[in-house]
């Protein structure tokens, strides 16, 4: 119920955040909205000794149209993403998926950066940014670097970021056809994590909760490229995946859901003109 004791530090600029992180190395974690981290800490599944509150870094909350891409600040909340008019017209997949995360209270606090760095393969936004082929920008003691979405997620709850690196921006190329998207989140209750989820943008297909990281459904994309119809391409949805087994689903059921949901996602995305 209560986190183990820790020291709270507050950053008022990105530079200060990096300096504070450098002081404490891997004993420190950045705290954004806290809705991935604090629940773990309250059950004492995570026990960082230092939290660096970056929640006040207003300079990292934005959604901007730029040349060839949309730039989203890492501290933009799910609620802000869901309400963004720019995203509604240019990246409806992201707006819609952000509006499905958790519940309204969680969306008011949780941020896209926090969710991505937490790297839970069962979360919605990691698969979405895979489907959007986004580039993630991180700043660290050694400077800035850009990381492709396909390299960002390394393993279960493990992103490629080093301790002391701060995710600052997500750059999303404008899709060929903004309207060719679909997000299928299959849950037991509306508030639950996806048992399986699918994000589609153009001809990219990404899977939620079918492995230790979010996955691009390569075999599906391959089939589509070879001219397969959606249902036929979807038959490959589970190939190469390693779905977890838990109280909600065994492997066979997840594989089946992946096929059904990919088919529905492809059909829906193509039905939008």
């Amino acid at each position: 119920m209560i986190p183990a004791p820790f020291t709270y530090k507050r950053a008022l600029s990105v530079d200060q955040a990096l300096d504070l992180a450098a002081e404490d190395g891997d004993e420190a974690k950045f705290l954004a909205g806290g809705h991935s981290l604090l629940p773990l800490m309250k059950l004492r599944l995570a026990v960082p000794e230092v939290l660096i509150d970056i929640g006040r870094l207003g300079e990292l909350r934005y959604v901007r149209g730029e040349d060839g891409h949309i730039a989203v600040g890492a501290l933009t909340s799910h609620d802000e993403l869901a309400r963004s008019e720019l995203l509604a017209s240019e990246l409806p997949l992201l707006a819609h998926a952000a509006g499905q995360v958790g519940d309204p209270q969680v969306r008011h606090r949780g941020t896209i950066g926090g969710s991505l760095v937490h790297a839970d393969p069962a979360a919605d936004l990691p698969a979405v940014i895979l489907a959007l082929d986004a580039t993630l920008v991180a700043r660290g003691p050694a400077g800035s670097r850009e990381i492709g979405a396909g390299q960002f997620f390394q393993g279960l709850f493990e992103s490629v970021l080093e301790p002391g690196e701060l995710l600052t921006e997500i750059r999303i190329p404008r899709p060929q056809a903004a309207g060719r998207w679909s997000f299928q989140k299959f849950t037991k209750r509306a508030i639950d994590w996806a048992i399986v989820g699918v994000a589609v943008q153009d001809d990219r297909v990404a899977l939620v909760n079918m492995g230790q990281t979010p996955l691009r459904a390569g075999p599906v994309e391959q089939a589509l490229a070879e001219g397969a119809a959606p249902r036929d391409a979807a038959a490959h949805a589970a190939e190469g995946s390693s779905p977890p087994e838990d109280i909600n689903a065994d492997r066979r059921y997840r594989e089946h859901l992946a096929r059904v949901l990919v088919a529905r996602a492809l059909e829906e995305s193509r039905s939008r003109l």
Binding site: M1, Y8, G34, H35, L43, D53
Partner: protein
């Protein structure tokens, strides 16, 4: 560390442990015990309050105060159910609607439910029944079956709109 939060319009300042949850700051430091703790997995919403950061517009957004550190809320304005009345002695339209529609039984989920409803109506002044149900997905009630809670929120909507305009 020292934390100062404006709660229901009054500044409350205290030296608290860094790990103090906002809900405990409200209950034990500000002595406002209406907001309850119902779970430890950010699921039940009994702890819902409105929180407005410095420079933020509007009346504050619903947050689960069990998953916010008091330190994160330092400098913010927080509204709990005790702060809903506008000082005229009359209940807020949402409170009045919960009463009229029998939207509470044991009362434990009620403060959080009311604040979630206030936030919903601020963001969506004329919700459909489906929208109300979806907006309350993060607030558990074990007593009412939600039927009258939904009726209460729908009944309160026009009065809340009027209040905002008037």
């Amino acid at each position: 560390m020292k934390v100062t939060i404006t709660v229901n319009g009054s500044q409350v300042a205290a030296e608290v442990a860094d790990r103090t949850l906002l809900v405990h700051f409200l209950r034990d430091v500000a002595n406002l015990t209406a907001t309850n703790v119902g779970c430890d997995s950010t699921s039940c919403g009994a702890c819902t309050v409105l929180m407005k950061g410095a420079g933020e517009a509007g009346g504050g957004k619903s947050v689960k105060s069990c998953t916010v550190l008091a330190a994160q809320a330092d400098g913010s304005e927080v509204t709990t159910v005790e702060g809903l009345a506008d000082g005229t002695g009359e209940m807020h339209p949402v409170q009045a609607a919960f009463h009229a529609e029998h939207g509470l039984q044991c009362g434990f989920c009620t403060p959080g439910m009311v604040m979630a409803a206030v936030s919903l109506l601020a963001e969506n002044p004329s919700p459909t029944e489906d929208e109300v149900r979806t907006a309350l997905e993060g607030n558990l009630c074990r007593c009412t079956g939600y039927h009258n809670i939904v009726r209460a929120v729908l009944a309160a909507a026009p009065a809340v709109s009027e209040r905002r305009v008037g």
